[in-house]
Assembly symmetry: C2
Homo-oligomer: 144 residues x 2
């Protein structure tokens, strides 16, 4: 059991204010966030969606390495990209409408079907996938 902490200091209104989000437990960094930047075409500073993408891709890659070994394979190299989309919510406000995972794996001892099965199992079992179960998560996984 482990607890990790992050903190945001926010000043001002939603449209005109801005904040700094700090990775507190690790001290890895502090990053600017703002609402206009969050939905701008070009990302400057991080955003809740980019941070969700980072959490999901890192958790998923760990879960997949475990699933590959559990299926009798050896994980060599995995590349996991998460694309997180923020959109108007049909019931009001905004929501995360889609998380798309793109996975390429270099694996010994599993064929394409075995890798696909491991990738699907990691999508269901990874702790961040479970926490994000209220969203739509799609997966495109193949051997490199």
């Amino acid at each position: 059991m482990a607890t990790r902490t992050a903190r945001t200091a926010w000043n001002g209104t939603l449209q005109e204010g801005a904040g700094q989000v700090e990775l507190t437990s690790s001290g890895s960094g502090t990053f600017d966030v703002s609402f206009p930047r969050r939905t701008a075409d070009k990302a400057e500073g991080t955003s809740p969606e980019e941070l969700i993408a980072a959490a999901h891709s890192s958790c998923y890659s760990m879960a997949l390495s475990g699933e590959i070994a559990g299926a009798g394979g050896t994980p060599i190299a995995l590349e996991v990209t998460a694309d997180v989309t923020l959109a108007p919510d049909p019931v009001g406000g905004l929501h995360i409408s889609l998380i798309h995972l793109t996975v390429r794996g270099e694996v010994e001892g599993l064929d394409a079907a075995g890798f696909e099965a491991a990738a699907q199992a990691a999508k269901v079992g990874c702790p961040v996938s479970k926490a994000l179960a209220a969203t739509t998560i799609t997966l495109d996984a193949s051997l490199a």
Copy 2:
């Protein structure tokens, strides 16, 4: 509508391997992750849980600034801390067992009850809270 991307490059097994997670859309940084570090007493490198905490605290602070204005107040300064706990899942594997938000607000034009109501509304309406609805989210909010 906006999409933000992060990517993890992972090498090796769950227990002995390691990865680097990149905040791809913004280029804000690349951080080491590993499974032993994820559950260690001391956080070194970031972790999926710390990144979820960062996503939630930053999203919540924006949502709260909007709720305060919607209730007729003026948000001056908000400090939002998110503590995210990873624990064994009763149904197997690991899960995020708790997200605790601690909120302190400097606000003009709202009393304690008005601030508490805005804080509760932000807990329900923030896009990251909605995405994390499968977890337990607790809130301790008060005026600074």
